[in-house]
Amino acid sequence: MGQQCLRYQMQWEDLDEYQALTFLTRNEILCIHKTFLKLCPSQKHYKEATLTMDQVSSLPALRVNPFRDRICRVFSHNGVFSFEDVLGMASVFSEQACPSLKIEYAFRIYDFNENGFIDEEDLQKIVLRLLKSDDVSEDLLMDVTHHVLSESDLDNDNMLSFSEFEHAMAKSPDFMNSFRIHFWGC
């Protein structure tokens, strides 16, 4: 046992309920359960145990993701992850999740300053995170943000509201393809 949670088997009813409430398949839920048990502190039932944001950030699925801190912030409650929070996160990123759910959470993730809009500052942060190198010129940043806004900002207020973001993402099937994580440990 050691560092692991007490090995409580998930009850049938719980498994059925999670299957009904999330977009995950049975195998995926069991897999996440296994991964959670490996990480959570000992002597606790999996329903009461919590993981810190650092622990979730270091999962193999999120380790190299440049937005992992934002993902952890959006999906956690009070700075910690319960088992159901992890399930909710996996459900949004699963293959079967509907586009509207993915778009809503993507908007929350990309809104760095949490003011309800994706403005220029957010866009610049996104581009910097995507490129992650130090030799990104100011011109490149300004040009990219300017072009993104001129294409997607429909009401000319220099920021993207949720409906504008939704409109831009609904036009792109690549968003559904790339906003997907399906490897949570097994």
């Binding site: 440049p66 490149l140 429909l154 009401d155 509201s161 993402m169 393809n177």
Partner: protein, 821 residues
């Protein structure tokens, strides 16, 4: 219109107002409701006081428009804007719940006319007055929640579960909603179980249903888990991203198509004929190892080829049917007309493949194409380019490089659009393109001519291993030419990198089509003529088998030399850590070429799809191993979903269409050989069908509708003209609809722009009005920090609290009716 609110606005005229935009009062004829609302506000301002709270020192409230015309708002204003009803999705739980309440209501009341109060937001605020009147209270979160629960109870179980799953709430809240929205009938049933005579049986029934349900779930998840290569695909996706994954998914799709085609062939042709084997020819050829390559020898007289199939009606009373005559059908035997079965099965297999292919292509096209979607590529790049599937550090670095390159190239393209090339540069580019095109055309024509002459030469010889010469030459030409075209595309230096890839694909495709066309002519034209007394169908089937095998060998060699050896050379000799890229376009074209060969050969060799299945299985493992060991993801940006659509389209249009044309020509026009196969006594293969229809006509009344149908649909050309005309009309209508949708989209964009300007105007106006108020008050009561609250309710929807302290104020909470933009 609603009853007018009799309020008077008492705002003193400020001097700066004359040269600003026209005030709402002057527009009162048009925007009646704004006028009234503002009047109402100001009256209540006059009646009640202003509550003032101290302001944080760093918050300004600048709403001066920027030079480009876009405003900057203070954080406070931004927060208010973010709490507007149209923006609160994802922000507050109450908003989510009320939104989903609305959606559930719409779902339930879909059949009836929508209530005016539930109308979609529209620009004209006059219509929103209905909303203002109906909603007299701002609902608390609990009330909203109970309303939502009540609505969910009205839905069916599946819809309810779907609704709950889609909500962006935490799992605990979803559980609460789900538990509370179990229908009262279910609760009553549960209560009944506690007592009463039926409790035992109903409990048993309930537990049976539950067990079946769980079993069903287990089965479905078992099927899901047993999907072939699930883990391998996850591994590839995690390490190389979506673009390389699309190649392997395409391979899997091809496998599915082949299995789909093989099943009817196995069931209706191979199985039946294997149960009634014809006499073996003498001498019986012995099996040497060469059969696997050439397809001749002991493979010739097996179910694998056309010549094995009998041309008479098989029935159980006579196991060995001869060419002449038919056995008398005994009692209890099922006569099986082999020629008819052959024709219909091959036709049905092709038809099913066609339908499946067209359906998947249109489905994929529908997902990846949006009306007016050619713009907006920049937002897509920024938000979609990070592939969340990638879990390896090395792959994430490759992704970053690729995104950087992509952004820089896009910027270059935008620069070019802004400052197009000079006439000299454009001329030079056109000259380069023309030269490249000519070179490719020359290569294509040269290859086709080479294949033409070589096949003629090989016609004279041709036993044993020499038969492999033609496939070897064709495969070598294909490989060489595709490398040449790739190199040419990089030299040409197109403006857009995606165009480069498309050009390379097009050129390779044209070459392969030309070569295959020459080969088809060679088989159906010349070979038929020379082998009239032999069994030319067997020969064509064997040729296609040889082509498949040699192409497979060449693909393996290409993997070996193109990837493994190149990596070894680049690591040892050139000392670079760069692995060769996995060339997706070339690999996919190879797959499509192999599938075309299979489809061409199905008529002459019903087991050819099985050979292709084996080939694809081997190819998957070889390519995967080579990819993991030797390659890296491509640096060029690949829009994976567009690529899947392109691959499927290429599979459908040149590949399947060409094979279908070949099949139709072979069935309708070519005389089958007279010594072998199920059509040996007929003039064309199609005659088997017409002969049967004639027989039915003569036979009697029972099957008489079939000849009539046949005469009406197939022999009468009017029906075909009618169907084609209808199809063209439908296509034209759809084009017009799309055009209309584009126009509507332009109008809506214009409208949204206007709404945005309205919003900025209103915010500025409101700020200036209350700044004026505040200045006025400061003048009157400068020393006192009066605290008063302005709370304005107009029909319950407009509440506006101004909190002010020490000469500055901030708008803390502003909930406007959702008619405001």
């Amino acid at each position: 219109m609603a009853q007018p609110l009799t309020l008077v606005l008492n705002v003193p005229e400020t001097t700066g107002d004359e040269d600003l935009e026209p005030s709402p009062y002057e527009e009162s004829e048009v925007h009646d409701s704004f006028h009234r609302l503002i009047q109402e506000q100001s009256l209540l301002v006059a009646e009640e006081g202003l509550e003032l709270l101290p302001l944080a020192p760093d918050r300004g409230y600048q709403t001066l428009p920027r030079p480009e015309g876009a405003p900057t708002h203070s954080t406070a204003t931004l927060r208010i804007l973010a709490s507007m009803p149209s923006r609160t999705i994802g922000r507050s739980r109450g908003a989510i719940i009320s939104e989903y309440y609305n959606r559930t209501v719409k779902l339930r009341r879909r059949s009836s006319r929508p209530l005016l109060g539930n109308m979609v937001r529209c620009a004209r605020p006059s219509l929103r007055l209905y909303d203002l009147e109906l909603d007299h209270t701002i609902l608390e979160e609990d009330e909203k929640r109970s309303l939502l629960v009540k609505e969910l109870q009205g839905l069916s179980v599946a819809q309810r579960d779907h609704m709950v799953r889609n909500m962006p709430l935490s799992l605990g809240e979803k559980r609460w909603l789900r538990e509370n929205s179990w229908s009262p009938k279910g609760k009553r049933r549960g209560q009944q179980d506690r007592g009463g005579a039926f409790s035992c049986s109903s409990r048993l029934r309930y537990s049976c249903i539950l067990a079946l349900h769980s079993l069903g779930l287990v089965l479905v998840s078992g099927l899901y888990a047993a999907r072939p290569w699930r883990y391998a695909l996850k591994q590839i996706g995690g390490q190389f991203g979506s673009s390389v994954l699309s190649y392997f998914i395409f391979l899997k799709t091809l496998l599915a198509f082949n299995v789909l085609m093989l099943l009817p062939l196995l069931g209706f042709l191979v199985g039946v004929q294997a149960a009634f084997p014809p006499d073996p020819p003498d001498p019986v050829p012995t099996c040497s190892g060469l059969e696997l390559l050439t397809g001749r020898g002991c493979f010739t007289h097996t179910v694998m080829y056309y010549g094995y199939y009998s041309n008479s009606t098989l029935s159980q009373s006579c196991d060995s049917s001869r060419d002449s005559g038919r056995c008398s059908p005994g009692s209890g035997s099922l006569p099986y007309n082999m020629p008819l079965a052959y024709l219909f099965t091959v036709g049905a297999a092709f038809f099913i493949t066609c339908i499946t292919l067209v359906y998947s292509m249109s489905h994929s096209f529908g997902e990846s194409y949006r009306v007016g979607s050619t713009k907006g590529i920049h937002a897509l790049t920024v938000f979609c380019s990070w592939d969340y599937k990638v879990t390896q550090k090395r792959a994430s670095r490759v992704q970053q490089d690729s995104i950087c390159t992509q952004l820089k190239e896009l910027l270059a393209v935008w620069q070019l659009q802004k400052h197009p090339r000079s006439a000299c540069g454009q001329l030079w580019q056109a000259a380069m393109l023309a030269l490249g095109g000519l070179l490719c055309l020359g290569t294509t024509v040269g290859c086709a001519a080479a294949v033409f002459t070589f096949s003629e030469v090989m016609m004279q010889r041709g036993q044993g291993v020499e038969l492999l010469a033609l496939p070897l030459v064709v495969s070598a030409l294909n490989l060489g030419a595709s490398y040449l075209f790739c190199g040419l595309a990089t030299l040409e230096r197109h403006d857009s990198p995606v165009l480069e890839v498309y050009m390379a694909i097009c050129r390779s495709l044209i070459l392969k089509t030309a070569v295959l066309g020459v080969l088809c002519y060679h088989w159906l034209g010349r070979r038929v003529a020379t082998l009239q007394d032999g069994c030319w169908e067997n020969f064509v089937g064997q040729e296609l088998y040889r082509f498949l095998v040699v192409d497979f060998i060449f693909t393996l060699l290409d993997s070996l030399f193109g990837e493994l050896v190149w990596r070894l050379i680049s690591e040892k000799k050139l000392k670079r850590r760069q692995k060769p890229e996995f060339d997706i376009a070339r690999n996919v074209l190879d797959l499509i070429y192999g599938q075309t060969l299979t489809w061409l050969g199905v008529l002459f060799s019903p087991l050819l799809p099985a050979v292709q299945i084996l080939r694809l299985l081997f190819l998957f493992y070889v390519k995967k191993a080579s990819l993991m060991a030797n390659c890296q993801a491509p640096r060029r940006p690949w829009l994976a979903s567009h690529m899947s659509t392109v691959f499927l389209t290429l599979l459908c249009f040149p590949s399947f269409l060409g094979a279908a044309v070949f099949l139709c020509y072979a069935v309708w026009q070519v005389k089958p050989s007279s010594t072998c196969g199920p059509f040996r006594t007929l003039n064309t293969m199609y005659e088997a069908g017409t002969v049967w229809v004639r027989r039915l006509e003569h036979a009697g009344s029972r099957g008489s509708w079939l000849p009539w149908l046949h005469h009406l649909l197939v022999e009468n050309t009017f029906f075909l003209f009618l169907v084609s005309a209808l199809l063209l009309a439908v296509i034209y209508l759809n084009i017009q609809v799309v055009k209309g949708q584009r126009k509507v989209i332009c109008l809506l964009k214009e409208q949204i722009r206007n709404e945005g300007e309205d919003k900025i105007f209103l915010i500025n106006k409101l700020h200036s009005v209350y700044e004026g108020e505040q200045n006025r008050r400061q003048k009157h009561s400068s020393s006192k920090a009066s605290r008063s609250l302005l709370f304005c309710r107009s029909s319950g929807q407009l509440s506006w609290r101004l909190l002010e302290g020490q000469g500055q104020f901030e708008i803390l909470s502003l909930t406007l009716p959702s008619g405001f933009p």
